[in-house]
């Protein structure tokens, strides 16, 4: 160990709203050592690690990491490439649709390695972790243990001097766990100068570390080597030592677990599986699994991640239909419509599945009510659960701000709140600290022994498996062994259940294991090439490209989204090009003819002969006129007065009345024009027939429809719809972008790697701008080939405009995405914020020159207005690049401003 500490914390305090996670912490962490952070859930372990990694913003105090004060932005940036951070949760910072190789490659690019060096390092790491044979497998299809190994590869690809691992083995099976630590040990042997900080819930793992930080309640209880801690407390093992270190009031409630033997064997079968099989496509997740679980029995399900435990449990709950075989609960086949059975079952899924936006109390209350507990008992039951699961101090916190272990406790509390007769628990204690786990098991045992509750539980903890009445070992969809823990140990001739378990697994996974334990040739290569990348340019095209590539691969892996993105605009263009029209036609009208003379019929013939009007049965009186206009069946009504013909013959002025439905002013206005036109033509005809004649007009009025001589909607509609679609679709695509990373957790990579906000945003933008430009090309082809709307002006101008425009529109989507927290809000905001200015204020329907007030300002403050001018200009007005220059400048300005605003709103550290 070297003298200078790898990290120094001074007066660090961190709060989440009112809750203090870390309080006034001073700590010197020795360099070159394997340092463990141990302590119960929610004591601030993760917060401290995230703060040291620079992923969380320091609220108060000072942290010096590798000699740099990371509260200073510059210094934090300079030290960032030397630190690697793997957050809590299985594969949380990985990209699920990317393959193993692509994931590691992405991280390698973020740290700016050249292609050859990257390839060498990756080959080494993948070989060392045994992932090489799975290089092409998507990360989401990996088992938990493999995900963590992949996470380690991604963290190690840039040879960090400080590696920070937050509960890396939580939720990982014993064999994978053992391999994980073995791997880390080998890597450390090769790079002894590397410091490793690990938070863990496994005391037996911590016992092998060099130096430990025991934490409780946001404070450090003790530091030192495991031996020092044990000798200080005079205890034999670390778990006991930790409990001894706790203050008196925290120790209360922890006592040795008492497991009473199962008395009075009840042979009623509660759960039965007969040949259960589940296939996803050609992949068999569960193959011919059978077991019988008796009432009141605690049945343990063990196996590596991805071995089919969860799938089996889902089939038992009816969430997944079985491909083959059957499952029975209480003697009845699982039936999703059987509400009675569901009320007797409590289920807890592996991933947290409660409402994160609700508080602990609200979640409990909601579930109590959904299970129809009598209202009078609800408050009491909720209080009881809060007490029993140690939740009092969290009761009014929203679930999203809870640490992993506390969330698990809440999930458990919810699963048992209605006092079910059967519990199906999928890894309920993953991430829960030993003290809380024991308390939980005490509860389970009480439930099983006293109330006869049947418990079906999956776990990775061997000491938990030992407490089960019977256990079943699963691997690759099959049951390897089944029996009481003692029977299994005996059958394998092993010293402990863990050994027996690993023995069973190694028996069937020799191939993989051999790869993992082979000496790692790549490590040396990687080290040889290790020229620590400490230089961090302010802007790196390489990192930008890494993000752009990754985003593009993700899109390519999602053919449905790509199809929607490419076909959507085509369908919309066809629909709107044909569908939207200002050409008012087929106006339904009816006549109230009070004259019924040849003259009145002659007058009306002018209407029935016009293609704009469509005649309906005549009207008999004013009441009918009123009624039929009100119903919307008539758009206009014509009334001919009595004595129309006689008056006309005698040259006495007479008056025709027309009523127009004014509900739609545009239509009303146009129809008024048509009516007046027909009337004038009629008068003209009269004049020519009249013997007296009339004076000809004194001057002609010549109306010239420019740009669109035929005055057809399509020439304005096609350029307009192009403008519309090139902002809607791209903005929609990018609006979920950043928010999705926030929800999924991969945003951590922005917080903890050297990538800057600008590179992140531009990298995410590029692929979508590319798709949008492709949309532009298809839209122009449609316009020219299908709608026969030629580009009269400069195609180059149109294309330059489109290129700038798609950068502005994708930039707008990213800007929206940067300030919203959820994808829902992102989609919604992109929709509502673009709709109004684009459709109403960009000159699509109404000329911008006619807008007033806020509408006009909004029009000018949105890029669509400028592209509308370019689109109309190039398509119909025969304009060239020079004429449209200031529109280009405006669009470029929007693209830059959106990027800068997005950069400002995007946090590069968690708060």
């Amino acid at each position: 160990m070297t003298a200078t500490p790898v990290a120094q914390l001074r007066g660090i305090t961190h709060r989440y709203q009112r809750v203090v996670a870390v309080e006034d912490m001073d700590l010197d962490i020795p360099a070159g050592a394997m340092v463990g952070f141990i302590g119960p859930d929610g004591v601030g372990k993760s917060s401290v690690l995230a703060l040291i990694a620079g992923a969380r913003r320091i609220q108060q105090g000072r942290i010096v990491v590798l000699g740099a004060d990371i509260s200073q932005v510059r210094q934090r940036e300079s030290v960032c490439p030397r630190v690697a951070y793997m957050p809590q949760g299985l594969g949380r910072n990985l990209y699920p649709t990317l393959s193993v190789f692509e994931n590691v490659d992405f991280f390698g690019r973020l740290f700016g390695h050249a292609a050859a060096e990257r390839a060498r390092r990756m080959a080494g790491l993948l070989a060392a972790t045994g992932l090489a044979p799975f290089a092409d497998r998507a990360a989401m299809k990996l088992s938990g243990g493999m995900k963590q190994k992949l996470g380690l590869c991604c963290a190690l690809v840039h040879d960090p001097d400080l590696l920070i691992l937050d509960e890396p083995t939580t939720g990982v099976d014993p064999l994978s766990r053992r391999q994980f630590w073995e791997l880390l040990r080998r890597i450390r042997a090769d790079r002894p100068q590397m410091s490793v900080l690990v938070a863990t819930a496994y005391m037996e793992e911590a016992a092998d570390f060099d130096w430990l930080v025991a934490m409780d309640d946001g404070r450090v209880l003790a530091t030192g080597s495991p031996e020092a801690l044990k000798s200080r407390t005079g205890t034999g093992n670390l778990e006991a030592a930790f409990v001894a270190l706790l203050p008196e009031n925290r120790r209360r409630g922890h006592r040795g677990l008492r497991i009473s033997p199962r008395a009075g064997q009840d042979h009623e079968v509660a759960i039965e599986a007969r040949g259960l099989t589940r296939r996803f496509g050609d992949f068999t997740a569960v193959s011919n699994v059978s077991f019988r679980i008796e009432r009141g029995e605690i049945f343990g399900f063990l196996g590596s991640n991805g071995c089919g435990k969860t799938t089996t449990m889902k089939m038992l709950t009816g969430l997944l239909p079985a491909t083959d075989g059957e499952a029975l609960l209480f003697g009845h086949a699982v039936d999703t419509r059987d509400m009675g059975t569901r009320r007797r079952v409590g289920y807890m899924s592996q991933s947290f599945s409660l409402y994160t936006e609700l508080t602990v109390r609200q979640n409990l209350d909601l579930h109590a009510r959904l299970f129809h507990l009598p209202p009078s008992r609800i408050a009491g039951r909720v209080a009881e659960m809060v007490e029993r699961f140690g939740l009092p101090e969290f009761v009014d916190q929203r679930a999203e701000s809870l640490p992993l272990g506390i969330r698990q406790r809440l999930s458990l509390a919810v699963a048992v709140i209605h006092g079910p007769e059967m519990l199906i628990l999928d890894e309920p204690t993953s991430g829960v600290d030993p003290v809380a786990r024991d308390a939980f098991w005490q509860l389970l045992i009480d439930l099983a022994r006293n109330d006869g509750v049947t418990i079906f539980i999956s776990t990775h903890f061997m000491n938990e498996a030992e407490r089960c009445d019977r256990i079943s070992l699963m691997h690759a969809g099959r049951v390897l062994a089944q029996g009481t823990p003692a029977e299994l140990v005996r059958a394998r001739d092993a010293g402990s259940l863990e050994e027996a378990f690993i023995g069973y697994l190694e028996g069937v996974t020799e191939g993989v294991d051999a790869q993992a334990s082979r000496p790692a040739p790549g490590i040396d290569d990687a080290r040889a090439a290790a020229a620590p990348a400490t230089r961090r340019p302010a802007f790196s095209p390489g990192r930008l490209w890494a993000y752009a590539r990754r985003e593009a691969v993700e899109i390519r892996r999602d053919p449905v989204r790509l199809a929607f993105a490419l076909l959507g605009p085509i369908i919309l263009m066809l629909t709107f090009g044909y569908g939207i029209s200002f050409d008012v036609e087929n106006l339904t009208y009816a006549v109230l003819d009070r004259d019924r003379s040849p003259q009145s019929r002659a007058y009306l013939e002018n209407f029935s002969g016009s293609r704009y009007f469509s005649e309906r049965p005549p009207l008999s009186d004013h009441a009918e006129l009123e009624r039929r206009l009100r119903s919307g069946k008539l758009k206009l009504a014509i009334e001919i007065p009595p004595r129309f013909g006689r008056d006309l013959k005698r040259g006495r002025p007479t008056e025709v009345g027309v009523w127009i439905d004014g509900a739609s002013p545009l239509r009303a206005e146009t129809s008024r024009g048509y009516v007046e036109g027909v009337h004038l033509r009629y008068l003209d005809g009269l004049r020519r027939l009249s013997p007296r004649g009339h004076s000809p007009p004194v001057a002609d009025i010549e109306v010239r429809y420019r740009y669109n001589q035929a005055f057809k909607s399509v020439y304005a509609m096609v350029p307009g719809v192009t403008m519309l679609l090139l902002i809607f679709i791209p903005a929609m695509m990018t609006a979920v972008g950043v928010a999705r990373e926030k929800e999924m957790g991969s945003i951590t990579n922005l917080y903890a790697t050297p990538v800057t906000g600008t590179e992140f945003l531009l990298g995410k933008q590029l692929p979508y701008a590319g798709i949008a430009f492709l949309n532009y090309v298809t839209l122009v082809l449609l316009a020219v080939l299908v709608f026969e709307v030629p580009v009269k002006g400069s195609l180059a101008a149109l294309s330059i405009g489109a290129a700038l425009y798609v950068f502005a529109s994708t930039g707008f989507g990213l800007l929206v995405s940067s300030f919203v927290q959820t994808q829902v809000a992102g989609i919604f905001a992109a929709g509502i914020l673009t709709m109004l200015p684009v459709v109403q204020f960009s000159g699509f329907f109404n000329p911008v020159s006619s807008l007033s007030g806020g509408a006009r300002v909004m029009g000018y403050l949105f890029p669509s207005t400028y592209f509308q001018k370019i689109s109309l200009g190039a398509f119909t007005k025969a304009l060239g690049i020079h004429d449209l220059m200031h529109n280009f400048l405006a669009l470029a300005l929007f693209a830059v401003v959106y990027l800068l605003l997005g950069r400002m709103l995007l946090r590069t550290q968690e708060s």
Partner: protein, 372 residues
């Protein structure tokens, strides 16, 4: 029923915590209704017009002065060589060119021409504006001619009256149609995206193992999100549309409210149905948004429904928005009662039932799909 109520309350609590979302809902029922109604006119109003007066006679000035507000912005003067550039840049929708010696030529009965240039790409104004300007000029010419000749009489006069909106104020139309569009947008996105979110977070799975039927989960989403929208929409109608924009409401607000409720059932069901067709939020965004744009732009709320091709009209009968636009126009503008709008009510409810059934059929399968 109890479950539906409880789950719905949960939806409301969740919504309350998403401040951005709450703000956007507020925006969409206030400014997003107000701004286009005040600022953008569908009828001939605030048309931008320029006059190239090469004559500079009393007659040409009369024509210049006859272009009045609110139909036109005060006309600008333009030099003849600037006409093309000004129209190319869409600075003016109309440019009137009065040739040199115009008045003198009329006096000598040489029948000169005055030219009206129309930017035909300004679809909403070009047609009606050209007609209107022609009639204004014709009137001025006639008045001018009368002074020098005998009065011409017209044998038949035409009196055109607009019912339900006598002055054809487009703000009446825009306000209600904008409200309709925003109701549609919210209903599709709120429920659909909320369902995807539950699936991505695994909470839907959790609900499905509890004694809850999919139908209860769906109904809870529908009533809770629907309630928010109905309340917001009615407040918007009363406060923004009637209050601030001063639009008279001809018919029964209660009947309209009933229409909104039925419509929301249909559209929220559609939102859920769309959500069951896709696997992730980005996919949902790309599916739901085009559906929404089509429902919006082709419903008759923006351009007249009658002028669409028959095929489009036939397809749009399947969209609840078409019927909702039609019923809200009938009730709010024309004061129609249930005896007139019941067919629209019935069709909307029927379409809603179809979407609801479709969503229900796919609901459970979709959870499986999300994992496979």
């Amino acid at each position: 029923m109890h479950n539906v109520f409880r789950l719905g309350l949960k939806e409301l609590v969740s919504l309350r915590y998403d401040f951005v979302l709450v703000f956007l809902i507020f925006y969409s029922f206030t400014y997003a209704v107000y701004a286009p109604s005040r600022g953008a006119r569908m009828e001939l109003a605030n048309a931008s017009v320029a006059v190239v007066d090469e004559d500079e006679s009393p007659l040409s000035r009369r024509i210049h002065d006859a272009l009045l507000e609110p139909f036109f912005f005060p006309p600008a003067s333009l030099r003849v060589q600037d006409v093309d550039a000004a129209m190319d840049a869409a600075r003016y929708t109309f440019v009137i060119d009065i040739p040199p010696r115009f008045e003198a030529d009329i006096m000598r009965e040489r029948r000169p021409s005055v030219q009206v240039n129309v930017d035909a790409t300004a679809m909403s104004q070009a047609g009606s504006g050209a007609t209107y300007i022609s009639s204004v000029i014709a009137r001025e010419l006639a008045a001018f001619a009368q002074r020098s000749g005998p009065a011409a009489t017209t044998p038949v006069n035409l009196v055109v009256r607009a019912k339900f909106n006598p002055n054809l104020e487009s703000s009446w139309f825009m306000a209600v149609m904008q409200l309709n569009n925003n109701i549609t947008l919210l209903a599709i996105f709120l429920t659909g995206a909320a369902l995807i979110r539950e699936r991505e977070h695994g909470t839907i799975e959790h609900l499905l193992v509890m004694p809850l039927r999919p139908i209860e989960i769906m109904l809870a989403k529908i009533w809770a999100n629907g309630l928010v929208i109905v309340v917001a929409a009615l407040l918007c109608l009363r406060l923004v549309i009637e209050g601030v924009l001063d639009v008279p409401i001809a018919g029964s607000v209660a009947l309209f409210a009933a229409g909104v409720v039925i419509y929301l059932f249909a559209v929220t069901s559609l939102g859920i149905f769309l959500a069951t067709l896709v696997r992730s939020m980005p996919q949902f965004a790309l599916l739901a948004f085009p559906v929404f744009i089509i429902m919006n732009l082709l419903s008759g709320s923006t351009t007249p429904f009658e002028s669409m091709p028959p095929a489009v009209r036939a397809v749009m009968q399947l969209s609840p928005s078409t019927h909702f636009v039609s019923l809200s126009q009938a009730i709010l503008y024309r004061g129609a009662d249930l005896s007139i709008v019941w067919p629209q009510f019935a069709v909307t409810a029927g379409l809603g039932a179809v979407f609801f059934a479709g969503a229900l059929l796919r609901f459970r399968r979709t959870v499986t799909v999300a994992q496979g």
